[in-house]
């Protein structure tokens, strides 16, 4: 037994150190990107003015730009990236499908259907501008329900269809079906509602009111805590449901917990920032490459940080530092995410039904 103990401690700290080192690097990266995102934008502000704006309250234009716009936007970017990536990670594990993610499987569409019901379904008195306080929670809850409903349907189908590409196509069908429903709703809605909805679909990180940002932060924190609670369950689910059940996992409850968690995170982000593509599917793979592990006790915090970093980077790129024009952030995330997704597809073509 002595030799066994020796071996057990001989090389495990090495991998532990690699993890710690990587987490250190990630945290530094996130902080640097956060600072960079605040310092650079379409209006060029001198570094000294940025610092002054952050630490004094002189009511200058710079202070307004920094404190009311850039700072909340940077925080939103991090939160959105972290939340989408974390929900993507969990979906990939639960569906045992490397192509799973909130946007590809139609979960984001489901969330947007919920939003459409709130904005287009109610009277013209509700617009994105007038939604406040309780209204934000209604919007978010509708989004959660829409995301959860699609997730539930996909789950039922994936228990019958094992092929990941088939499920992917079904997800695309769902998205198309939902946009058809939304188009019908748009057709029957009045001009004000329509305008409010169209503005929402454009998606942006910078349009959140402080109240909305609070709702987003609370929801995403709840989701992140739920994911941490699910760590052990997610690890068991890696082996598939039969094995997970055979080692004592309550599969039905685990699924419910994980679906609730992903619906909350993907739904909240979609409710306030519109559909943001490819972060949810690509970042978990980036994290796996980085940490070279399948253990969720490392992947969950890892994905959280990587997702935040990638989204901050996308936001910085979309500002086109040094110029005055701004790119839609959705295009930037797509251009970052798509190569990763293609790489995963190429790597997995040998066993398309397996994770």
């Amino acid at each position: 037994m002595k030799t066994v103990k020796y071996i057990a401690t001989a090389d495990s700290p090495k991998s532990l150190n690699r993890g710690k080192y990587l987490f250190g690097v990630l945290i530094i990266t996130v902080v640097s990107l956060l600072i960079f995102d605040i310092f650079f934008g379409s209006v060029s502000i001198k570094a000294s003015d940025v610092v002054k704006a952050l630490f004094s309250h002189d009511g200058s234009t710079f202070e307004t730009i920094i404190m009311k716009f850039r700072f909340p936007k940077a925080i939103t970017a991090f939160t959105v990236g972290a939340a989408l990536s974390l929900s993507g990670l969990q979906m990939q594990t639960v569906f045992r499908n490397p192509m799973a993610g909130p946007d590809v499987l139609g979960i984001s569409s489901g969330a947007s259907l919920g939003v459409a019901f709130v904005i287009l379904g109610f009277s013209g008195s509700i617009t994105t501008d007038s939604i406040n306080g309780l209204g934000n929670w209604i919007l978010v809850a509708a989004s959660w329900l829409g995301a959860g409903a699609v997730m539930f349907l996909i789950m039922i189908l994936s228990s019958r269809v094992k092929d990941i590409m088939t499920i992917l196509i079904i997800g695309i069908m769902f998205s198309s079906g939902i946009s058809a429903i939304v188009t019908i709703m748009q057709y029957f809605s009045n001009e004000t509602m329509l305008k409010a909805y169209v503005i929402w679909t454009m998606g942006s990180l910078g349009n959140l009111t402080s109240n909305q940002l609070n709702v987003l932060l609370i929801s995403v924190s709840a989701g992140a805590i739920l994911s941490l609670i699910s760590t052990k369950r997610l690890n068991a689910l890696l082996l598939g449901e039969n094995y997970a059940a055979s080692i004592g996992l309550n599969v039905r409850f685990a699924r419910f917990l994980i679906f609730a968690c992903t619906s909350i995170m993907a739904g909240s982000v979609t409710a306030f920032c519109g559909p943001i593509a490819f972060i949810g599917i690509a970042v978990p793979h980036m994290t796996r490459i980085l940490f070279k592990t399948a253990d969720h006790s490392i992947l969950i915090p890892g994905t959280f940080l990587t997702g935040g970093a990638v989204m901050l980077l996308s936001d910085i790129i979309s500002q086109l530092p040094g110029s005055e024009s701004v790119l839609p952030v959705n295009s930037v995330t797509s251009l970052i995410g798509i190569p990763v997704v293609i790489w995963v597809i190429l790597r997995n073509r040998k066993y398309s039904t397996l994770f």
């Binding site: 037994m1 066994v4 103990k5 071996i7 057990a8 090389d11 991998s15 941490l228 609670i229 760590t231 052990k232 690890n235 068991a236 890696l238 082996l239 598939g240 039969n242 094995y243 059940a245 055979s246 080692i247 004592g248 996992l249 309550n250 796996r288 940490f291 070279k292 592990t293 399948a294 253990d295 006790s297 066993y351 397996l354 994770f355």
Partner: protein
């Protein structure tokens, strides 16, 4: 004997529920297994072996009857307690990227760890012990996607060893393996049942291996489950039921198969040693039966510095220098009339 009994099935009904419809696969099954026994589950494809094994593990609901683990009804165990009592390996191949053998084996500790899955020093010892017993130490930090089929199966076995259950249920653990890995896994199961007192219930299609290696056989037939030492079942001629309608014949004398093809008459083989044994095998394969008394014609084998076979008929003696040549010659013959 009864004090050692760890598993018993009492009129267990297995099958599927779809909607309100229950479809029971087999008549109620009754069987037992003792501590440290290697039990082979044998039956034709699709008869319900996998369903039985899944029902035993608690993954699938039973449709009636009872299963007792150590004298306690399976339904009185909680999920976690059950997972501490019985482990399971299915035919499903686990291919997870970036998962090391150590990670996989550590998952076996699932029913023993706390809510977040913290690995204590006891867990670590059990994990390392399991890896060592399956001789996977050298592969500990390898990714399971890099392993061969045989190595991966050993890693899976290490995982249920770490789960620390009295009973291990395995669905065709040697399927898809090359012959070397097959025997290695079988040997491992044998050692685990003997030394670690694990009761191993495994299904297999390799009848020869099941008969020579297992302590007990559960033979599932369409109308009943027969249990006993493989030799008991052999004496009863139970295995013959497996091949009732086919042209395969099971020889209860030596536990091998033969094809019930056309019988082309009987032949006597004169000679001794290894060469005689293999000559007999070849002649049987060619469709002749072996005779204990001298026949005309007959075969004479000579071992010398050059092996020689003689085909002695009434008025001639033909000589051959390999079994292949001999069998080619015999293909033309039919001795039923003689």
């Amino acid at each position: 004997m009864n004090s050692k009994q760890i598993l018993s099935l009492d009129s267990l009904k297995i099958g599927y529920v779809s909607g309100n419809q229950k479809s029971v696969l087999l008549p109620p099954l009754t069987a037992t297994a003792n501590t440290g026994e290697l039990v082979a589950v044998i039956g034709r494809n699709g008869i319900g072996k996998s369903t039985l094994l899944r029902t035993l593990t608690g993954i699938q609901e039973s449709l009636g009857g009872e299963v007792f683990f150590a004298g306690k009804d399976m339904r009185d165990y909680s999920r976690t307690e059950l997972a501490q009592k019985v482990g399971y390996i299915s035919t499903e191949i686990v291919k997870v990227h970036n998962m090391t053998v150590h990670d996989l084996v550590a998952l076996g500790r699932f029913p023993h760890t706390n809510w977040i899955g913290k690995i204590t020093s006891t867990d670590d010892e059990k994990i390392m012990d399991a890896i060592e017993k399956t001789s996977m130490l050298a592969f500990r930090n390898k990714f399971i996607s890099e392993l061969s089929d045989g190595e991966r199966q050993k890693a899976m076995i290490a995982r249920i060893l770490a789960q620390d259950t009295d009973i291990m249920v395995m669905d065709e653990p040697t399927a898809f393996l090359d012959i070397g890995s097959k025997y290695e896994i079988m040997n491992l199961l044998h050692v685990l049942s003997q030394k670690s007192e694990k009761t191993i219930i495994f299904s297999t299609h390799d009848l020869h291996m099941a008969i020579s290696q297992s302590d007990k056989v559960w033979l599932i037939l369409d109308n009943q489950l027969l249990e006993g030492a493989p030799e008991d079942l052999m004496i009863e001629g139970a295995f013959d039921h497996l091949f009732e309608s086919s042209s395969v014949h099971f020889n209860s004398e030596n536990g091998t198969f033969s094809f019930r093809g056309e019988n082309r008459g009987s032949l006597y083989v004169e000679g001794d040693g290894l060469i005689k044994y293999w000559t007999k095998e070849a002649i049987t394969r060619a469709g002749f039966s072996l005779s204990d008394e001298i026949t005309k014609p007959y075969i004479k084998v000579n071992m010398g510095n050059k092996n020689k076979w003689q085909f002695v008929s009434l008025n001639s003696v033909e000589e051959f220098y390999s079994i292949y040549e001999l069998v080619c010659r015999l293909q033309k013959e039919d001795f039923r009339s003689i």
